[in-house]
């Protein structure tokens, strides 16, 4: 009983393959335009891919490979979708909104309302049953939308940034609620928030440009990110390249030529294999001239941005970041465009296989 999908959508440059276990919640992370929502639309049956196949348990959702034309329409898939906006039907009461799923699958009005009451109680929204969606706050409406999705008893729950339209007070409440209802359930959740991934997901997938670039257990991905996006979420600098005896030979980027990064090798990292070097922005110091003397790394960079970061200043140079004190920043006279050296001790750099 697993969910397996393999889909190509050429118009949106999407090509992914993914499997979910019986009661597994997977968070999908990635920059805007990475194809995350497209993937959910394909899974829900709202968008027909150019090629691929998908199964949910023993049901074929679609099979377009080898001239196949098998296609299960959305209403027969058992994949409820919860979007950024609650999209409650404005003409139905809260109770009838939640009863919509069971009613549509053939339950009587009494039965479906009974189911609706159960799920409204489950999301602490019983007192809203008689209201119209127009009379709810954003947080209340999204809770009702969660109840409505669950009341349809989906085999797979698809959540597309369910917290992003909520204000900062309503989001934690909904996050706790989702943690409770998602446990023991199969779900795909798109999020931009590390906290969502850590709290709700067993596993994360990072998508970039329509491809899965990294996947693994949530904690492992944030502890040892291998993609630029996950590194950004985890708050570390990441350089990709080839593992060497005492560090990493980086791949040349727009900002930096190929250079050698000295660092601590992970036990499993073998010289010659692809790897990454990771180090926190707080371990980076900034000098106007190249700092010599091993074991230190000195990267010649041009500053792109300066922004406040807690009680420090975060200095960005392309994909790299350094956290320094405001007084140090003032002393160095940093501004966007300044050419400086990011210096980091070899002992602060972790090198591991990608």
């Amino acid at each position: 009983m697993s969910f397996q999908i393999d889909a190509t959508v050429r118009a949106r440059n999407l090509d992914v393959s993914l499997t979910l276990g019986q009661a597994e919640t997977v968070a999908i992370l990635g920059p805007n335009g990475a194809g995350k929502s497209t993937l959910l639309s394909v899974a829900a049956g709202l968008l027909r891919p150019d090629a691929g196949s998908a199964r949910l348990g023993d049901q074929v959702l679609f099979n377009l490979d080898g001239g196949g034309r098998a296609w299960t329409p959305p209403h027969l898939r058992g994949t409820a979708l919860l979007a950024q906006e609650p999209l409650l039907f404005p003409h139905l009461s809260v109770l009838d909104n939640v009863a919509f799923g069971p009613r549509s699958s053939g339950a009587s009005r009494t039965e479906s309302r009974e189911t609706a009451r159960h799920w409204l109680a489950e999301v602490d929204a019983m007192e809203l049953a008689g209201r119209k969606p127009g009379q709810l706050s954003g947080g209340q409406a999204q809770r009702v939308a969660v109840a409505r999705a669950l009341a349809a008893s989906p085999e797979l729950l698809l959540l597309d940034e369910p917290m992003s339209a909520l204000d900062i007070h309503a989001a934690p409440h909904l996050r706790r609620l989702l943690k409770r209802v998602l446990s023991g359930r199969r779900a795909l959740i798109i999020t931009h928030d590390v906290l969502d991934a850590l709290m709700l997901a067993d596993r994360v997938i990072v998508m970039e440009k329509g491809r899965i670039v990294e996947e693994g257990a949530t904690r492992e991905v944030f502890r040892r990110p291998r993609s630029q996006f996950a590194a950004g979420l985890a708050g570390v600098n990441l350089m990709a390249g080839t593992v060497t005896e005492d560090g990493l030979r980086t791949v040349a980027t727009v900002e930096l030529p190929s250079l050698h990064v000295a660092g601590d090798l992970d036990d499993e990292a073998e010289p010659g294999q692809p790897g990454v070097a990771a180090f926190p922005p707080s371990a980076v110091s900034i000098f106007l001239d190249a700092a010599h003397g091993s074991p230190r790394n000195s990267f010649p960079v041009a500053i792109t941005d300066l922004e406040p970061h807690g009680d420090h200043i975060r200095v960005r140079a392309g994909d790299l970041a350094a956290d320094i004190t405001p007084s140090a920043s003032a002393e160095l006279g940093l501004e966007p465009g300044s050419r400086v050296h990011f210096v980091v001790k070899a002992t602060a750099v972790q090198v591991y296989a990608a």
Partner: protein, 267 residues
Amino acid sequence: MNFSGIPRWVYGLAVVGGLFVLLPLAAMVAKVNWTQFIPLVTSDSSLTALGLSLRTSAASTALCIVFGIPLALVLARRPFRGQRLLRAFVLLPLVLPPVVGGIALLYTFGRQGLLGKSLGLAGIQIAFSTTAVVLAQTFVALPFLVVSLEGALRTAGNRYEAVAATLGARPTTILRRVTIPMVLPGLASGAVLSFARSLGEFGATLTFAGSLQGVTRTLPLEIYLQRETDADAAVALSLVLVAVAVIVVGLSYRRPHRADLPAEAAA
């Protein structure tokens, strides 16, 4: 007062425009022979014509709803080859002189018409019957419903329908419980406009259905006929038609508030 951004001279032209509509109505009301008003509008022929008008207009509005909803859905929700052409043809009766519409219907459903011949063999005569009145009215009124509903459907978008589908609703269930209830205000105003257009229909009716008392002579035809012989009766009946139209349009533009829509409208 809030800033409106309207130049002052616009108000002047708006007043002239308003008067242009109101003044003729006032002139007509001034002409009404009030002492004879009740007998004039309750005469046999008047009541027959009014009853026929209301019945046929109700029937043609029903036909507009039955065929207009699918047309509007097809035009609003899914692009296809020839969609613009289909829209142009559906809207054609809006700009076509009704007489031309009547002639076209005659060559379709008339005794020697495209479909009329086969229908005649089956023993069905449509031209110059009450059915012909309903068809003529439907022909001219259908675009009003389609235009108004297509706009409402486009504005509403189909995101709610997508959610409903993932919740397990079949396409027909979605149409009944989500789409139609959500565009109900647009559908209602479209239906009212269609009814009003049917009520006022003259040219196509006269051409295609003729003017038989109690069968095809609707109120506009009766008014036109009376104008030749009894101007007072024509004016009185005109006032009745104006009153019916005002009531119908007035009722429809009291749009229901979203939150006040009946909870179980479509359940």
